[in-house]
Amino acid sequence: MSVETALVELLAAAVRIATPLFFAALGGILSERAGVFAVGLEGMMLAGAFGGVLAGHLAGSAAAGLAASVAAGVLLALLVAVATVRFGADQMVTGLAVNILAVGLTSFLLRGFAARGEAATLRVPVLAAWPVPGLAEVPVLGVVLFRQPPLTYAAVVFGVLIAVFLARTRAGLTLRAVGENPAAAFAVGVEPARVRLAAVLACGALAGLGGAVLSLQQVGTFTDAMTNGRGYIALAAIIVGRWLPGGTLLGCLLFGAADALQLRVQSLRLPVSSYVIQMTPYVVALVVLAGLGRSARLPAALGTPFRRE
């Protein structure tokens, strides 16, 4: 195999691994820039993965699956939003709790719906690739970028939309202000609670789609806890990308590439065990970030509940 094809393979793998992360991370950006920690991404993704497969299976249509992914993510996000925004519960713990809850609930419901408490399997056809006519034939780029399944294109579109939304619209400005200084936003007539509620729900929708990438686009089934920590990796990517969609995309791709590399390095027969090679993505991420040495500043009001006097 030529070096060139190996590289193309690697990049294509990086894009695939990055896609679910990026969806979740986009949601996380909205939530965190509005001042709510997005620790619950993992659970929202899992809910999305589950809802998508369940509805896809019952309704027999991919569209229904996607809609249910969004709905499931939003439902869990609603729980987060009510607990943190309405009641002022700690955001980080609520997120962690939601993650635990999602694992249990999806597993429980899967059995309940599908098999009355027994082991159950739901299977749906995976979303097929949509090659972009013309562009798909371009060497290298065509394979890496233009022969993707639909949700991958959607991720890019959402990324652009959210970047524009945050930077160029007044609503985006308001959302950012709520995450920086909700009191100041309140003083110009904004209701921080509403903004945060909306942001967290949008986060749930996007994270749900991230879960759909895993279950509907990549695997075609739901297995317990199948997100496997990707929500946390998405959180890390947000920090790497400094809460900007573009940077976060790079963060996701960096992680995807490192993970893809790890799989391929294992084939090289190095004199170390797979455990050491599996450290690659994490060590690469650390080294790259430490090398850049650029500090990331959290949105100032991240994690702080807003209560008016």
């Binding site: 007044r170 920086e180 200084n181 003083a187 110009v188 007539g189 904004v190 209701e191 008016r308």
Partner: protein
């Protein structure tokens, strides 16, 4: 135009407003006066909707005004400039102005708004760079942003809560002109200030609060400063303590060729040298943002110099805050909210903030909380801090009372050198007098005092020797007796420079 009736607001046991009525006619500037903690900010926050009152109602332009929602207040045509700035530090001036402003467009028209900011800031004499990040601006410029933000939106009733605390005289003049123009357009203004001169100059009438109640109301025409002060305090202020004249002593604080940059790498101090002698108050005048705060920070060890040295009692001090504290340097910083105080910690904690390692607050490695409380109690007593006790978070104090906590800590230390940046910012006249007396007493006890203020009047009253700072350098040094207001004004604006000679800098003015 505005009628507030029976406004009551309590914070726990503190009754900040206890049934206040306030009327503001159309086309009038009403001054709202009162000692620190008398309830002015609370009342205005109620009006603007930031704070929900326990009881009371308001009508605005004949219609009932729902209290408790800034959105409703804004919609009704009420604007407010906040004592504690309501700005987003991480955002640019333009973004702060656009925030929540419909005119900014659903798709932000950032360039157009920036243009408007530039024009307005010129028109109002409040120059601002629309692209600057607010958090990086000195307080004086932040205050300009706060003002512009409200003024640009336009309001039928504009509330200004101590808008001039960080402004220099020309800026104040410009702002007052704006207020007059608003009045002439038939709009109304509520103006809160402890600077009675401004109040006399611009207000039509004043309402005075005392302990959360209206203590009086009178027309400004024909009133004197003393009248207003008496109305506020309920008695005559004692005359200021005059000093027995004395020759300045030995050089205590010597600053040599100090340079420093801010966080963004911009050089804020560009070669500053001077000395302050025992028993001397060396005052620095200037528009906020010309390096005064940085000077105090570098001398106080909070920020490192890029070049130059600081000596106390002949010995160079290198190192951070700890070494300064050990050398007896006290420091009242410019930014009380985010530097001078830990707002979420208690008064007792804040009083020992810089001394936790030392007896009596620390014994054999353990904190002695009772000692801290005792010190706090003494500070509350001495500085007349209005607080429920020593264990309440500082954030619950009124602005002026927060400032007093800093003063209690720094003056209470019995310093050899005092760096005081705007020490009387936000203090009522009585408290200001008290603080100045304390500073003078320190001086008379042989301390060297570096006193920074944007307020000329105060500087002329307090200084033994004064300097003007512009763009990171001292552009003139003189005795207060020789100071001439036009010359000072030119120097502060950077239009005149009289490079001081060594004698002036090192305190032997003829």
């Amino acid at each position: 135009m505005l009628a507030m009736r029976g406004i009551v607001k309590s914070y726990g046991a503190v009754r900040a407003n206890r049934g206040i009525d306030l009327d503001v006619p159309a086309g009038a500037i009403v001054g709202l006066l009162g000692e620190n903690g008398s309830g002015k900010t609370t009342l205005m926050n109620v009006l603007y909707g930031l704070v929900r009152p326990d009881a009371g109602s308001a009508t605005f332009r004949g219609r009932p005004l729902p209290l408790g929602s800034p959105r409703a207040a804004l919609a009704a045509g009420i604007g407010m400039i906040h004592q504690h700035f309501m700005l987003v530090p991480a955002m640019s001036v333009t973004e702060n102005v656009m925030l929540g402003w419909r005119a900014a467009g659903s798709w932000l028209r950032a360039a157009a708004i920036a243009e408007r900011i530039v024009q307005a800031s010129r028109a109002y004499g409040l120059e601002l760079d629309p692209g600057a990040v607010v958090g990086m601006l000195p307080l004086g410029l932040q205050q300009r942003v706060e003002i512009l933000k409200a003024v640009l939106r336009g309001a039928d009733l504009l509330i200004l809560d101590e808008p001039t605390s960080s402004l220099s005289p020309p800026e104040v003049t410009a702002l007052l002109a704006v207020l007059r123009r608003l009045r002439d357009e038939g709009r109304s203004v509520i103006f809160i200030s402890h600077k009675l001169g401004e109040v006399l100059e611009v207000c039509d009438e004043v309402v005075v609060l005392r302990d959360g109640e209206v203590a009086g109301r009178r027309a400004v025409a024909g009133a004197s400063r003393e009248d207003l002060a008496r109305l506020m305090v309920g008695r005559d202020l004692p005359p200021p303590v005059e000093r027995a004249s004395r020759a300045p002593g030995a050089e205590i604080l010597v600053v040599a060729d100090l340079h420093a940059c801010d966080a963004a790498g911009v050089e804020r101090l560009r070669g500053v040298s001077f000395s302050v002698r025992a028993g001397e108050i060396f005052a620095i005048a200037g528009v906020d943002g010309n390096g005064q705060a940085e000077l105090a920070e570098v001398v106080g060890g909070v920020a490192p110099p890029t070049r130059g040295s600081v000596f106390v009692d002949g010995a160079e001090i290198v190192g951070g805050v700890a070494t300064r504290l050990a050398a007896g340097v006290a420091h009242v910083p410019a930014d009380r909210a985010s530097v001078g105080l830990v707002r979420d910690m208690t008064i007792a904690d804040n009083v020992v903030l810089r001394d936790v390692d030392r007896p009596p607050f620390c014994r054999r490695g353990w904190l002695d909380r009772d000692a801290a409380r005792e010190a706090a109690r003494r500070g509350i007593e001495a500085f007349d801090i209005r607080a429920e006790g020593v264990d309440v978070p500082v954030r619950t104090l009124s602005g002026g009372n927060q400032q007093k906590v800093i003063l209690a800590r720094e003056l209470g230390r019995g310093p050899r050198v005092l760096l005081a940046v705007q020490p009387t910012r936000g203090l009522d006249p009585g408290a200001t007098r008290f603080v100045i007396d304390r500073v003078r007493a320190l001086r008379d006890g042989g301390a060297a005092i570096l006193y920074v203020s944007t307020e000329l009047e105060e500087i002329l009253g307090v200084a033994d020797r004064l300097a003007v700072m512009h763009a990171g350098r001292l552009v003139g040094v003189m005795r207060p007796a020789d100071a001439d207001l036009t010359r000072l004004g030119l120097m502060m604006a950077g239009a005149l420079e009289e490079p001081p000679d060594a004698a002036a800098l090192y305190g032997v003015l003829a």
